[in-house]
């Protein structure tokens, strides 16, 4: 029996070792990405970056996208993704999956704003009582989660409308089809400057860092470190810059670059999600 157990234990160990080795050598690590774009655009953006990071780090990475936000959230919650580029891991319900931040995109923290047109008679959030307020969408952290949370905390009931994205909500405001809009402060400023109109800020949030590169606790530390270093060095590596630039061109945005980060830099977000009165719907 003992021999049988020993044999079984050896077999299991062998299997485990073989399996681990095999996983570590041939199976690529899944890298989940938040759904901001179509799966195809997402793949076109991230696959070159992951190929570069895989080559540099020696850790094979494979994009893993979900069809929907809720599916992505579910994957995060289930911890089945080895790496993440998302903020769904900060949602209160998902924090148990244990993802640890190791890097984040370079850039300032963002702020959410509730804005009206400069000539609007609305002077305070209270004036928005019962009014139409347009938001980008229900998953928008800066434009909806923060702004709606502020309105709810102020006890102001508005008629929420969703324009689909940030500039859609801003366009509704400019066209005077809505009394106010919940927006990202950075995007709003750029939009108003480009469209040539003035607005007035009724409310503004504190600053929040939004997305982070995180690793599952199941991924060995060296792999995480290797991957982290590869990401952080991309901006200094000509090959990395070329990849980042090409990917940015696919989605028509400024090239990303990454800086090292820890969970501490996202504490206010963790706190917000733990205390928010907004019902966060799975994405």
């Amino acid at each position: 029996m003992k021999a049988r157990i020993t044999t079984l234990a050896l077999a299991v160990s062998l299997l485990l070792v073989t399996g681990t080795h095999s996983w570590s050598q041939s199976q690529p690590f899944s890298f989940g990405v938040i759904i901001h774009r179509s799966p195809t655009s997402t793949a076109e953006f991230w696959n070159p970056i992951f190929r570069h990071v895989s080559e540099r780090s020696g850790v094979p990475l494979r994009l893993k996208t979900a069809s929907t936000g809720s599916e992505h959230t579910a994957m995060v919650r289930r911890g089945e993704l080895h790496f993440l580029y998302s903020n769904h891991n900060f949602i209160n319900e998902n924090q148990a999956s244990g993802y640890r931040v190791f890097a984040r995109p370079r850039g300032d923290a963002g702020q959410g704003q509730i804005v009206v047109l400069a000539d609007s008679p609305i002077r305070s959030l209270a004036d928005l009582e019962g009014k139409d307020v347009t938001f980008p969408h229900t998953a928008a952290f800066l434009g909806y989660h923060l702004t709606m949370d502020a309105l709810l905390r102020a006890g102001i009931q508005v008629k929420p409308l969703f324009a689909g994205n940030q500039e859609g909500a801003m366009g509704q405001l400019k066209a005077r089809r809505t009394a106010a809009a919940g927006v990202s402060a950075e995007v709003m400023q750029a939009f108003a400057r480009r469209e040539g109109f003035a607005y007035r800020v009724l409310w503004i949030s504190e600053k929040y860092l939004n997305l982070a590169l995180s690793a599952s606790p199941a991924v060995p530390e060296d792999k995480v470190r290797a991957v982290s270093e590869a990401f952080l060095r991309m901006a200094d590596d000509p090959g990395g810059i070329k990849v980042l630039t090409a990917s940015a061109a696919v989605v028509n945005q400024t090239p990303l670059s990454f800086v090292a980060a820890t969970d501490l830099e996202f504490v206010n977000m963790l706190r917000f999600y733990r205390t928010t009165r907004v019902k966060i719907e799975p994405q």
């Binding site: 179509s38 799966p39 195809t40 997402t42 793949a43 076109e44 070159p48 979900a66």
Partner: protein, 1017 residues
């Protein structure tokens, strides 16, 4: 089997079957070609569509599958594939990921409805494509799509069936329509065929009504037209055959021998006439060479076109002898080459006629004709001889002192004789014409002179009736012509004589124009216009018939034989012309005739001698109310290069004078018609005389009739000259020169023969007259003596020869017909004797003939005579003949000084010239002489007075005036003295004039003496 087997005719399809078969095949061919082309295009389209569909489907599928592939959502991929695979063209749509996991969907699996052969022919196969799905450089799998052509095959098959059905239907309809049209269109063709059969069976009258389509109608029309042509051709052929048959019959039955030969001279036809003439049967002659038959005697052939020997290719007509079965007879032969329509020579046709009987008759007729001619000649001679005596002796009688009663009787005898002679001449002329023996004797002559001379003879007759006789000759009519001037004058005189005869009031005008003028010939047109009784239209042609006048009463009223116009017509025909008349009863007639004359390369001898150079540029005014005369004057004056103005009346003349005077271009010469209705010539002359400004103008009077006292009026009015119409151009020129004081004689000497009476008379000749008739002996002797010659008379030719042998003569006048020995024989004898004495000069011999027959002159000349005179002999002719033979200018008239008389001096009165100047009017001449006798001493006194006073102008005027009078009288020497005085006066001198005046005075005394001396007969 033996090679002569009749080849079976190929199966003949009807037109309908051919058309249907042909059209069907053509349509089927076209349809198949069309179908093939369309299908090929459609196959290509479907093949392209299939490929395009595949590419498009993949283009759509790859992006659509990329998203789920990235996410790894195979459910979505499967749903998507299944949804796309529902398309009928899709056979399979599949997805295989990198790990080999496959998701696929199959298409609906459309069945092919087309038969396998069609599918094989289409050669359309499935198309397939597989394409990897790569996103962001990562391959997620492969998409496979296969499309099936079944749907395209089914569409093509259905389309093929539809098109085939349409084409079959179209072809069927087309063929059906063709059949329908053919059936209706062929119906007239069947009728055409039936009609053609009937036509071919002899029904040539068959025609088809025009119906059916245009093409068929055209065929029917062509058939009808062809039928018409053939029917007409057949009718023509029948007529031609009938004609040929008749012709052949005529040839065959002709009494003439008619036969033909081919190019080798072999006889090809031989008619009955030939059988009769030559006694050879056709079988004998046909095929024999023409030469061997010896049909006529080539050596005796005589004809205008001689071609006596057969076998030549030229037409010939001749007479010869032929050996016939009845012996040698005279035959006429006509040979004509036979030629085909293209001018190719086929042979020769000969017609031989036995003319022996004809020849005998001809000889008899010739003998009769000769006898008739001889009789005519004898009769002419026998009639003319006594007539010559009657007329000649009467003329001589009239020259003697007669009582008035005797004068009247003698004149009557002379006129009756001349009338009888005219009638006899007419009858003889007509007889000659009828006998075809009248021949023209062309010689060069001056036309204008001839016309004027001819008319001049009738002027007294016209003027006696108070008629104007005028003539005008177109300026384009050439003057030097060759023709029988005698016959031309005869016609003209006949017409003018008739016109005068039948006109009581008005004028007779002769217009001569040229119808055609070439360098060699001229066709004259002479029109004689009168204002007489006229001729009814129905008589206009009748009057040209012999012995016919317009009205029988005319003969009674006017006399005449009625032969004049008939003779004129025949003479005109002889001259290559035609004669006719335009007439209106009561208004007058215009007789006109044409004559073709040759132009003479050399100027004809003419009387016009004076040079008109002195008149060049002279300003002349002429006035005459008669248009014809105006034309004539204008033509003459223009020809002399004067600056002439011709007006139609006295008032117009005065107006012209006045106008010219005002313009400072006064007229130097004024020619006035004496009788003009508004203001006559005398009145105009009087006005001129009264006007000092016009006194320098020389005035001449032209008149048709001279009335008593006219000459005195002329003299009183200072009229320089008086001329009787009609006048010849030379007469007017001479008169003008004389009136202007020009030296006519000098100019004549330069230009040609002198006028009568102005030169010295010819020397006295010794003339031998051989004439058997005593009257004629006396007449000729008297005439010759009048001309100043000595005469010896012989009664016949024998006596003449004897006298010729005994003494010398200068000339012989020999009657042709004399007893004992006629003139021709005598002449021959004389010429023979002359030949024996080479040193003896040739004696001129003039024949006297009746001129009854043509050829008389030739006979005379052939016998050795030099010229001939026609009886009755006229003094002028005799004188002219003598002058001609002696080489001197001819003398126109014969009132010469008697033989032996002293030749008149130049200062003496020349009655010949004087009479000529007054137109032969003795009464006028007498009056003129009376005036001269009164006037000349006065002018002489004026001259002497002017010399004494030294008045050159008066001298010139008086001398000029006297000179004119002297010229008229022919006193040329005295006129020359007067001219010298005039010239001195013109030069403003009188020095030396005394001597000339003294000479003139002496000449004048002698002249006055001769004028006033009693007439000695």
């Amino acid at each position: 089997v033996n090679g002569s087997r009749v080849r079976r005719a190929p199966v003949s399809l009807s037109l309908t079957a051919r058309l249907v078969l042909g059209s069907g095949l053509a349509l089927a061919g076209c349809a198949l070609a069309l179908l093939y082309t369309v299908l090929k295009e459609e196959i290509a389209d479907h093949r392209a569509a299939l490929s395009q569909g595949l590419a498009e489907e993949m283009r759509f599928a790859i992006p659509a599958i990329s998203g789920p592939a990235v996410v790894g959502d195979y459910t979505v991929i499967e749903q998507m594939l299944k949804a796309r695979a529902t398309q009928p063209t899709v056979a399979r749509f599949g997805w295989t990921d990198d790990s080999g996991h496959t998701v696929s969907a199959r298409g609906p699996g459309v069945e092919t409805a087309a038969p396998p052969w069609f599918v094989r022919w289409l050669d359309l196969s499935s198309v397939e494509q597989s394409q990897p799905v790569v996103v962001g450089g990562e391959q997620y799998g492969t998409v496979l799509l296969r499309l099936t052509p079944a749907l395209a095959i089914n569409k093509l098959w259905h389309g093929f069936l539809q098109k085939l059905a349409i084409l079959v239907l179209g072809a069927g309809l087309s063929l059906g329509m063709t059949l329908l049209v053919l059936r209706t269109g062929l119906r007239p063709l069947h009728a055409l065929a039936a009609s053609a059969r009937r036509f071919g069976q002899g029904d040539h009258g068959v025609r088809i009504p025009l119906r059916g389509p245009a093409e068929t109608a055209q065929c029917i029309g062509a058939f009808n037209s062809m039928a018409e042509s053939i029917e007409s051709l057949l009718a023509s052929l029948r007529r031609s055959e009938e004609k040929s048959r008749i012709l052949a019959m005529q040839v065959e039955q002709s009494s003439d021998a008619i036969f033909s030969s081919d190019l080798n001279g072999v006889v090809t036809s031989w008619n009955r006439g030939a059988v009769r003439l030559y006694g050879r049967r056709a079988e004998e002659a046909l095929g024999a060479p023409l030469r061997e038959l010896d049909l006529w005697d080539c050596s005796k052939a005589t004809a205008e076109t001689t071609m006596p020997c057969p076998g030549r290719a030229r037409p010939a007509s001749f007479e010869t002898c032929a050996k016939t079965r009845s012996g040698v007879v005279e035959v006429s032969v006509v040979t004509t080459p036979l030629v085909d329509d293209h001018g190719g020579h086929l042979g020769e046709l000969c017609i031989v006629r036995d003319i022996s009987a004809l020849k005998r008759k001809e000889a008899a007729a010739e003998a009769a004709s000769h006898a008739k001619s001889e009789f005519l000649a004898v009769m002419s001679h026998e009639i003319r001889t006594p007539m010559n005596g009657v007329i000649g002796m009467t003329a001589l009688l009239l020259d003697t002192e007669l009582t008035t009663e005797q004068q009247v009787y003698a004149e009557t005898v002379r006129r009756s004789g001349e009338a009888l002679l005219a009638i006899i001449n007419d009858i003889l002329d007509f007889s000659k014409i009828e006998a075809g023996r009248l021949e023209l004797e062309p010689a060069p002559f001056p036309l204008r002179e001839a016309i004027a001379e001819a008319l001049k003879t009738l002027a007294p007759l016209a003027h006696g009736k108070g008629l104007e006789l005028a003539y005008a000759i177109g300026p384009d009519v050439p003057d030097d012509l060759i023709g029988d001037t005698g016959r031309l004058s005869q016609v003209l005189l006949n017409l003018v004589g008739n016109a005068i005869k039948f006109t009581d009031l008005g004028e007779v005008a002769v217009h001569v124009t040229a119808e055609t003028v070439t360098p060699d010939d001229v066709t004259l047109r002479v029109a004689v216009q009168d204002t007489g009784v006229g001729i009814p239209a129905d008589k206009c042609q009748l009057i040209f018939e012999a012995f016919t006048q317009a009205d029988a009463s005319i003969t009674r009223q006017f006399g005449g034989t009625g032969l004049g116009l008939a003779i004129s017509r025949r003479l005109v025909h002889l001259m290559g012309g035609r004669i006719g008349v335009d007439s209106h009863v009561g208004l007058g007639s215009t007789f006109h005739f044409t004559a073709q004359l040759r132009r003479s390369p050399q100027p004809a001898p003419r009387r016009l001698a004076a040079s008109s150079r002195a008149l060049r540029g002279l300003r002349v005014l002429a006035a005459d109310d008669n248009a014809t005369n105006r034309q004539l004057l204008e033509a003459m004056l223009t020809a002399w290069e004067t600056t002439a103005t011709v007006v139609d009346g006295g008032r117009a003349a005065l107006a012209g004078l006045e106008e010219a005077r005002r313009a400072g271009q006064a007229f130097r010469l004024v020619l006035l018609d004496a009788r003009m209705p508004d203001l006559d010539g005398f009145a105009v002359a009087e006005r001129i005389r009264q006007d000092p400004a016009l006194v320098d103008a020389t005035v001449m009077l032209l008149t048709s009739d001279v009335k008593t006292g006219d000459l005195a009026r002329c003299r009183n009015l200072g009229i320089a000259h008086h001329l009787v119409k009609p006048f010849t151009p030379s007469e007017l020129l001479n008169a003008v020169l004389l009136a202007l004081g020009e030296d006519v004689d000098a100019t004549r000497a330069m230009a040609g023969p002198a006028p009568p009476g102005t030169t010295a008379h010819p020397p006295r000749l010794q003339v031998l007259v051989a004439e058997d008739n005593a009257v004629n002996q006396q007449l000729i002797s008297r005439l010759l003596e009048k001309l100043g010659h000595g005469v010896v008379v012989a009664a016949n030719g024998q006596e003449a020869i004897t006298m010729y042998a005994n003494r010398p003569f200068d000339l012989v006048v020999m009657d042709v017909q004399m007893p004992v020995m006629d003139g021709l024989a005598a002449t021959a004898a004389i010429r023979q004797r002359e030949a024996g004495h080479p040193g003896r000069p040739r004696l001129p011999i003039i024949a006297l003939t009746a001129a009854a027959m043509p050829g008389d002159r030739e006979r005379c000349l052939a016998a050795g005579m030099d010229d001939y005179l026609t009886k009755p002999i006229k003094l002028e002719d005799l004188a002219a003949m003598l002058d001609g033979l002696s080489g001197r200018p001819r003398v126109a008239t014969g009132l010469a000084t008697p033989a032996g008389a002293e030749s008149p001096g130049q200062a003496d009165f020349d009655p010949t010239a004087a009479l000529a100047y007054v137109g032969g009017d003795r009464e006028l001449l007498g009056e003129l002489l009376t005036i001269f006798v009164e006037d000349a001493p006065m002018r002489m006194a004026e001259i002497r007075q002017a010399i004494a006073r030294g008045e050159a102008a008066a001298l010139r005027h008086s001398a000029h005036s006297l000179k004119g009078a002297l010229k008229v009288l022919g006193a040329s020497a005295a006129a020359g003295q007067a001219l010298r005085l005039e010239l001195l006066g013109q030069e403003g001198q009188v020095i030396g004039a005394d001597e000339i005046a003294a000479a003139l005075d002496r000449d004048l005394d002698r002249l006055l003496h001769s004028v006033t001396a009693p007439k000695d007969g």
